[in-house]
């Protein structure tokens, strides 16, 4: 059977991996190629690279990093950050990405998902959503979690699937960086309404958080950054633990 996936996320700025808490307070972590190799060797199932810079010069630095990683590491790579057009898809795919994650770009132009899915196939399009509770509802936030769009997260997820997204990354702003576990309530609610694979993000602090996450049958993967970057948890150990909990992983 398909295994549950463990996915480290590398936020890249100025060619370096960085990590913030609740989307702010950014710290430098490591060189991306070294870190990617480390993850590949310790059992990561995929890698996600987010370009958190915006300027053109830094963008070319990012794609150089991507090329170097993609020519040495042979597991799926997803790239996100600043993807606004089908041409942006073409650019990162030509540098070695396998999947492309869209967030604000799809909010600004919902057609982007359909256009990219038509050109590259659904499997290539990952809809990443930053979600936060507002008055008891789940809202979609834009611009790295700074702006409430007022859109309902469930509607947005369903629309994304209909438009051809092949996967959803559900990132809970409420639990991001807090390390008190994934946002199970939010994930369960969203997963009831879509059939595409769901990657949970935001809140991993210990191995038990992953076993609790994967009790939700509808969640396919867990994504985390700092807990892996700072080696608080080694993916291989996490997978052994999950296996002992009868959760199937690629060990």
């Amino acid at each position: 059977m398909i295994t549950k996936r463990i996915i480290p996320c590398l936020d890249v700025r100025d060619g370096r991996v960085v990590k913030g808490k609740n989307f702010t307070g950014i710290q430098d972590v490591n060189g991306p190629v070294e870190l990617a190799k480390y993850y590949n060797d310790t059992g990561a199932d995929e890698l996600v690279f987010y370009d958190i810079t915006a300027s053109v010069e830094q963008r070319s630095l990012f794609t150089e990093v991507l090329r170097r990683v993609a020519s040495q590491i042979f597991i799926p790579l997803t790239v996100g950050g600043g993807i606004n057009t089908v041409e942006d898809f073409a650019h990162v795919l030509s540098c070695g990405a396998d999947k492309v994650s869209v967030n604000s770009g799809a909010i600004r132009n919902p057609e982007l998902i359909a256009q990219a899915a038509q050109k590259y196939g659904n499997q290539c399009v990952v809809l990443s959503m930053d979600v936060k509770r507002v008055n008891g509802k789940f809202h979609i936030f834009a611009k790295g979690g700074r702006e409430d769009t007022g859109m309902d997260a469930i509607d947005w997820a369903v629309r994304g699937e209909q438009n051809g997204a092949g996967e959803l990354v559900v990132n809970s702003i409420d639990t991001d960086g807090v390390k008190q576990g994934f946002d199970l309530e939010m994930l369960e609610e969203i997963s009831k309404h879509v059939r595409i694979p769901i990657i949970a993000s935001g809140g991993a602090g210990k191995k038990e958080d992953f076993s609790e996450l994967f009790r939700l049958k509808s969640v396919d993967a867990g994504l985390a950054a700092s807990i892996f970057h700072y080696k608080e948890l080694v993916i291989r150990d996490l997978k052994q633990y999950l296996k002992a909990q009868q959760i199937e992983t690629r060990v």
Binding site: Q72, F74, L93, G121, P197
Partner: protein, 202 residues
Amino acid sequence: MIAVIDYGVGNLFSLVSSLQYLGLTAKVTGKPDEICAADHIILPGVGAFADAMNKLRETNLDATVKEQAAIGKPLLGICLGMQILFEKGLEYGEHDGLGLLKGEVVPIADDLKEKLKIPHMGWNQLKIVRDCPLLKSSKDGDYVYYVHSFYAKNCAESIAAVSDYGIPITGVVANKNVMGTQFHPEKSGEAGLKILSAFAEL
């Protein structure tokens, strides 16, 4: 030299990188003379069955692939590249494939008995059902990376390995020099590199 056929579908960066990583010489090409000069041929592909076949036909590369397969050159189809080796595909209508392998390509969803997610996406284990040179370094239980919504069926003659997704999903096919993997060996870590390496040794 391994010719990786370029017919305008899919992302060849990883495939070429993984071949180079193994120390092999790979050339991405859509030119018949270069494909004919190669020792091995890889037919990649992502997207839809009919699109891929149309593109191969438009460039006349379908004839080149068939001719090279007929003279016994090792040919490896990957993902959609494997699917179009078969006689026909039932993706958005019924379409003829290259017909190098017996069988057809059908929606996974139609055959699933339980409500599992489509696409079949992620890491799954190989179950080897027949020895074949492509799997000489592989073993039962090796994890490989799949992402697809259609699978090859009625292909008992060529099936060499399957993966379990409620139903057996055709993973590896081989009939003499014509071979294919539904999963992406170039994305399957060490297990995938072993398969590419075994292919290059043929």
